[in-house]
Symmetry: C2
Subunit: 416 residues, 2 copies
């Protein structure tokens, strides 16, 4: 595991320690010292505090290798929980995740649509309470709420530049409102950056150390992870792959640029194009209409096939740009729109990378479809809360750091 | 400073410690503890070993703030040196840098051209010996040689996929040959990744913590730095911004893809286009011919202006893609081709970012022209040697790490 507080610092990141125990299943203190690159005294102290807090238990002894057999440690999965919400105008996903990394409850409800932000926030509070009650989680064990949304986020407001369909959310104090509505500590994150945490948390990335999540909801974004840590850039707004230029003289994009990937490839653009070309769109949310378009394409409709093929080529070119810029060895396709269309996009992206990735003589870039595409962002939001709340004293300001996630509300958890 | 060996590790990165002292000028041990995020005992031990090796001296005492005034430390700039070579078919740059970060000697000679790799390596050995003798550096104080070249590098060979003009270098054992030719320990790096180290080392980046170098030689590349550490990705081949797609249906690129930035914007492509449209090109190296094209453009030649404008627009779109993907707050234009044309490109790139950077409501992306554009890669190569050779015991394998640079030859320095 990596850390960014400097060599010799005496603190240990409790979140990363919990993560190491979770990933190992059962593990000795000696093995943790090795995995954390730490020393015995520091790990012992940190483990003791996790045991005292009921997060970790001793579960037996390892097979002897000559000396005294080592005591094995394991997480108590249901000792803590976090909530994750993925908010989009197309749909709202909710998950309850436990410390063990399992999703113990999930819910999908209609999106923000044209409702006022205040009304949506109130509804989220109600729906969360209903989910927590239904799952039977003790609210006292809830560490907090992670909420993700598309587009840039700012420390003070939540969202800054917002997609056209969510203009009313611009400068809306999302975190403060949700905190007031739920009584929970709230953390705000970009959807793609949260999704990559969700994929890592769920094990989709396997052994890859440097991978990206390509996220398709109504728009397109990406997240990058290096050694289990999200790369967040100067202001937490990395991975805006939907707004890289694939056509110098292309159509204007809502972001102010021209020829962005989203103008050609995003579900919002495809659904609009399909409708203007007379294809029968159900007129539900963008994500559902896009799923209908994917079904038409799979059924052989030539216009649908043309639109989806063009989009897949653009996403493949964007994946090439991403891989050539960041040098990843794995790209996970995730987000609700890949739930319906992932099988159409994956072979196009993989074939394109196999022939165009610049360092292909050094290694391949593998493309996989997430088994959690619909919920990855919400899962990641919950995972970020668990990591963040377990490591509240870590230094802020490290430039590559998921701990930099906007933790706007520091209020301790209360009964919802 | 950040590190990647894990909290609680007892080692300290000597290279980063030297870097901290160099950047501070004069600094106390207490201040170093603070800057390294370390503890007093660890810093004291490391400083003692630097003093014993003659790299650091005590230079006096700070003004008293009540207690006993702290002893100030300073580097001995000329206690160690490193050589840097930037190898391109257009030109070869040589620098001698000292531990203090100063370039104490530099030389520019004709490029690899059509010579065989073996002949070029022999010439590099001769030219280096001549430079070291001329500058009057004791070869016993040389820590090693850093060599940079365009294109992907592999651990075993140096270069893998090579630009068309350097096909004969494909799979040539560059590091081994240079080691045999010079008797020095050799480190190989991509030119753009080295250039960003050179910019950091030279102070161009100022206070920026997350910045990129946009490098233009015969082609176009980029390097990223985060907290003083180069981001190297899965295989050290990040930042291939010349091979991101800016035209889905564009011209085939030598790399195997279509519509790459280099097909529209690279000096190689521009010089070829200028020649085919009848502009008078001197027929020297690509970099010199490109400089002639830039002069024609500045003198008002309409064809030259059209070509340069189109290239600047493409580079600006690439910078937009870079900024939206990596979220940097500074882009430094560097590399030999920006020496001649930087003033034509900078305003176009800055204006484009001001109106298209996705998170522009959060912060600006500033664009500056490097004062060391011609030599930044060679300076960075020398700086990497100084860092690498001062920290020989650091753990390998960290994914973001300039220490991961290919240190192919581990032979200790010998008299050249």
């Amino acid at each position: 595991m990596s850390t960014h507080t400097g060599v010799g610092a005496s603190a240990i990141n409790r979140g990363q320690l919990v993560d190491a125990i979770r990933r190992a299943g059962q593990v000795s203190r000696v093995e943790l010292v090795h995995r954390m690159g730490s020393n015995a005294a520091t790990v012992s102290t940190a483990v003791r505090s996790l045991i005292d807090d009921g997060l970790v238990v001793e579960v037996g002894r390892a097979a002897s290798t000559g000396g005294k057999p080592a005591v094995l440690l394991s997480l108590v999965p249901d000792s803590r929980f976090a909530l994750g919400v993925s908010l989009d105008h197309s749909g709202i996903s909710y998950v309850v995740a436990n410390l063990g990394g399992a999703v113990v409850g999930r819910l999908r409800r209609r999106g923000a649509g044209a409702d006022t932000p205040a009304a949506v926030v109130e509804r989220i509070g109600t729906e969360l309470t209903s989910l927590v009650t239904h799952v039977g989680v003790d609210p006292a064990l809830l560490l907090g709420l992670g909420v993700v949304s598309p587009g840039p986020i700012t420390g003070s407001n939540g969202m800054a530049l917002t997609p056209p369909a969510m203009q009313s959310w611009r400068d809306f104090p999302l975190a403060e409102s949700l905190e007031a509505s739920t009584g929970l500590s709230v953390l705000v994150e970009n959807d793609a950056s949260a999704a990559i945490v969700g994929e890592y948390w769920s094990g989709t990335a396997g052994a890859s150390r440097t991978f990206a999540a390509l996220y398709m909801g109504t728009g397109i974004g990406a997240g990058f992870m290096v050694d289990g840590i999200v790369y967040r850039g100067a202001s937490g707004n990395t991975g805006e792959i939907g707004h890289i230029c694939i056509d110098l003289d292309g159509l204007p994009c809502w972001c102010g640029a021209r020829g962005c990937v989203e103008t050609v490839a995003a579900p919002t653009a495809l659904v609009a194009a399909a409708r203007s070309r007379g294809l029968p769109m159900p007129g539900l949310s963008v994500v559902e209409d896009f799923a209908a378009l994917a079904r038409l394409s799979q059924a052989g409709d030539p216009v649908a096939q043309e639109l989806v093929t063009r989009s897949a080529r653009a996403v493949a070119a964007a994946a090439q740009s991403l891989a050539n810029m960041i040098d990843v060895d794995l790209i996970v396709l995730t987000g609700p729109s890949f739930t319906s269309a992932g099988a159409l996009y994956l072979p196009v992206i993989q074939a394109h990378l196999d022939t165009t990735f610049f360092a292909r003589d050094c290694h391949r870039v593998e493309v996989v479809l997430s088994p959690n595409a619909a919920d990855a962002a919400a899962i990641g939001a919950a995972a970020l809360v668990l990591q963040s709340e377990l490591a509240p004293h870590m230094a802020a300001g490290a430039a590559i750091d998921n701990r930099g996630s906007r933790r706007l509300a520091r209020q301790r958890l209360q009964r919802a």
